[in-house]
């Protein structure tokens, strides 16, 4: 296992090399010189110094070499021309951006899995029960007793409620799948501005993770509540699409497993339905879901980027967007490298988790 992880880590080096080439090439496509856009902010000496340091007057491959060598030898990813900080500090530290990114991503991830897994399992068991949960079953469940006492089993109130639940979850999954996250963000903004009447003063009270009076205050219960108030829009914007997809995946996987012969065996030997579902079906259905762990990372990134843009969050994604808008080249290149690295690590993590969940998988 350790060997496998090591080998995968080694494989990452050519990938990262390719990615660095790509991001450098993308930045070279931009017209004009990196620095000329910041000519007003920087003094003549610093300009000359930067030109010298990053070889901006030299051939393209020399520039690339200087950038890469700086990363490998000194951990110097370049400089942000906007704030004149080293790139790493600019991307990760300003207002503790990396910490917030990890925290928010973690919260959304946990929330969406905790909500979507049970819903997906429920949907699978409902679909597996072989009954049709259409509007007809809702109608027949709430009809007068005499009228509905036909067919194999009379429909009951509980069946009607179940059918409504299935319908609702289906609708949630479909809407979540089809609602782009920036549209969710706009709808939440509308809710906050027009219905709750928050943020009338240039959006204060909406943007950021805290209200202004809490921003530099030490942690307290009030600050925590304020954080929660700013958190739910973010969770919804990033999480809704994830939840919808996860419900569909879980449902499909659990439904597949429920058709296996060993489920029939488990039922035949008299296990309780609860044990059949959770001990036999769900545990086996988890494998393909775990292998998709790496797949969620780009989704979370995309969602958080949009949420950060709309709600002005102090996260890495926002710094990346800002760097793109101000054409802050080194930040963009290093940002691309960082997001690529996260993606690769995520894929590695999902492989490792897969081996932990499923003892049949060995990486030799």
């Amino acid at each position: 296992m350790l060997l496998f992880v090591l080998r995968r880590l080694l494989y990452m080096i050519p990938m990262l090399f390719l990615l660095s080439l790509l991001s450098f090439a993308v930045m070279q496509l931009q017209p004009g010189d990196f620095l000329s856009k910041f000519a007003l902010q920087l003094s003549q000496e610093t300009m000359a110094q930067l030109r010298e340091r990053y070889g901006l007057d030299e051939a393209v491959w020399v520039q690339y070499w200087k950038w890469i060598w700086g990363i490998v030898s000194r951990g110097d990813f370049g400089m942000s021309f906007e704030t004149q900080q080293p790139v790493l500090a600019h991307l990760f530290l300003n207002g503790d951006r990396l910490g917030w990114t990890l925290l928010l991503t973690g919260i959304v991830f946990l929330f969406s899995w905790m909500l979507a897994l049970p819903l997906g399992i429920y949907m699978a068991t409902m679909a597996h029960s072989g009954r049709l949960w259409s509007w007809k079953s809702i109608v027949s469940a709430f009809k007068a007793p005499a009228a509905r006492a036909q067919g194999p089993r009379p429909a009951r109130w509980a069946d009607g409620l179940r059918a409504i639940g299935v319908w609702l979850i289906n609708a949630l999954a479909m809407v979540g799948l089809s609602l782009p996250n920036f549209l969710t963000a706009l709808l939440i903004l509308w809710l906050l501005v027009a219905v709750f009447q928050v943020g009338q003063n240039f959006g204060l009270g909406i943007s950021g993770l805290f209200d202004v009076e809490y921003r530099s205050a030490p942690w307290s219960f009030g600050k925590f509540l304020n954080f929660l108030w700013h958190l739910w829009p973010v969770v919804l914007v990033v999480g809704l699409g994830n939840i919808a997809q996860l419900i569909r995946y879980t449902r499909a996987n659990v439904l597949d497993v429920l058709g296996e012969p060993y489920i029939q065996t488990a039922r035949a030997k008299g296990l309780q339905e609860r044990a059949v579902i959770y001990k036999h079906a769900v545990r086996n259905a988890l494998n393909p879901l775990v292998s998709l762990l790496g797949f969620w990372i780009p989704l979370l990134f995309e969602g958080l980027l949009v949420a950060a843009f709309v709600f002005q969050l102090p996260v890495v994604e926002f710094a990346y967007w800002r760097a793109l808008a101000t054409e802050d080249q080194y930040v963009v290149m290093s940002g691309l490298l960082f997001f690529g690295l996260v993606l690769l690590l995520g894929n590695l993590l999902s492989d490792v988790c897969l081996a932990l969940v499923n003892p049949r998988i060995r990486y030799e």
Binding site: F182, L186, L189, E302, L305, A325, V332
Partner: protein, 371 residues
């Protein structure tokens, strides 16, 4: 008729029709496409013309009158009169000026446009047929801050988005089918090399790369050049999953008896691919294409929303929503109809998702029908 006597196409069609929601969505997509293709004609105004005297007019669908003091009448609207908001400074409302009456007309002469950039026309499906500065205007879905008609903008924006998605899907399909086909048909080191390429492409941070690439397009580029560049960039990040699907299909079909038979009688590779393998993958390709449309639509609008997509004078739904966000406090408090492009985006994406789902179930021979 029993199932055994039906061709595969008929079977798929029958099963598809059974999925009511998917079928209705397919009809909706068809209608929307027709409407968007004739956007210039159906739109009552030129989407870019600013009606300086009518900023932020609310939707006028409830201001169509079919009844006057003499009983039923041909549909008409009253003139618009701008009055200040009683509480908020700088916010205006529009009242109906009952003294002026403007009948709605069909096939009316209005603002000139070039249909598909080719034919100069000034005929519009409906409108009041009055000059741009007259109070008698019919803004079906209202106007924005510069007095541009939102309905016309939505139609033209929908056309932009759909044409762009079609170009992206088509080109990424050509790329995906070509590379996936080569990879799956020949196998061996070609397959290994191409699969590494696919893995590398899929391992890239999609949106981050997309943003960086679109940011690299010069901002001074002419709008249509930008449109093509964005289409190219989108195709570049979306071909890889398709190539993977195609490769899987080719790998499976390569071993089929009829392919082996064709090989045995000496058919060329090109012939086998074109005549024997590709036709058998069409159903899967159609499903994959349908399911890829929502992703492209959303990516394009996200790009425009974040400010790295299409630029004015082109419009797209994402761009319209970006304009809402730019001063969201006033826009959302007083002019919520500006969110309507979002409703169109949502409905279109939803329809494509439903059609894709229904098609997938109809095509897959192993699903058991619920009926």
């Amino acid at each position: 008729m029993s199932d055994a006597t039906l061709s595969l196409k008929k079977l798929i069609w029958r099963r598809f029709k059974r999925r009511k929601l998917g079928f209705l969505s397919a009809l909706l997509i068809l209608k929307l496409t027709l409407i968007f293709l004739c956007a210039d004609f159906i739109a009552p105004y030129d989407h870019d013309v600013q009606h300086r005297r009518a900023p932020y007019v609310p939707p006028m669908w409830d201001r169509i009158h079919v009844w006057d003091e003499n009983g039923p009448s041909w549909p008409f609207v009253y003139g618009l009169r701008r009055v200040p908001h009683p509480e908020h400074i700088g916010v205006f409302r529009y009242e109906e000026d009952v003294s002026q009456r403007f009948p709605l007309q069909l096939f009316v002469k209005g603002e000139p446009y070039a249909w598909w950039g080719l034919w100069e026309m000034d005929l519009h499906l409906f409108g009041t047929g009055t000059a741009a500065n007259s109070p008698g205007q019919f803004f079906l879905l209202g106007t924005n801050q510069s007095g541009q008609d939102l309905f016309s903008q939505i139609l033209v924006g929908g056309r932009t988005s759909l044409v762009l998605s079609a170009i992206v899907i088509l080109s990424s399909f050509l790329l995906g089918v070509a590379l996936g086909g080569i990879s799956g048909y020949w196998g061996g080191w070609v397959d290994t090399a191409l699969q590494r390429l696919v893995e590398v492409t899929m391992g890239l941070p999609r949106l981050a790369l997309l943003l960086a690439l679109s940011a690299a397009i010069p901002s001074k580029a002419p709008p249509m050049a930008r449109f093509w560049a964005i289409a190219g960039v989108l195709a570049l990040v979306s071909w890889a999953p398709l190539a993977r699907v195609v490769r899987g299909q080719f790998l499976a079909l390569r071993e089929e008896d009829y392919v082996q038979a064709a090989k045995a009688i000496g058919a060329s590779s090109a012939r086998i691919i074109a005549r024997h393998i590709l036709p058998n993958t069409t159903s899967y390709l159609v499903v994959a294409a349908t399911l890829a449309v929502p992703g492209v639509l959303i990516l394009e609008s996200v790009l425009s929303f974040l400010g790295f997509g299409l630029n004015v004078p082109l419009v797209s739904w994402g761009l319209l929503l970006k304009q809402v966000y730019e001063s969201f406090v006033t826009n959302l408090s007083f002019y919520p109809w500006l969110l309507l492009p979002g409703a169109f985006l949502f409905l279109t994406v939803l329809a494509f998702n439903l059609v894709g789902d229904a098609l997938r179930d109809a095509v897959d021979p192993f699903t058991v029908d619920a009926t």
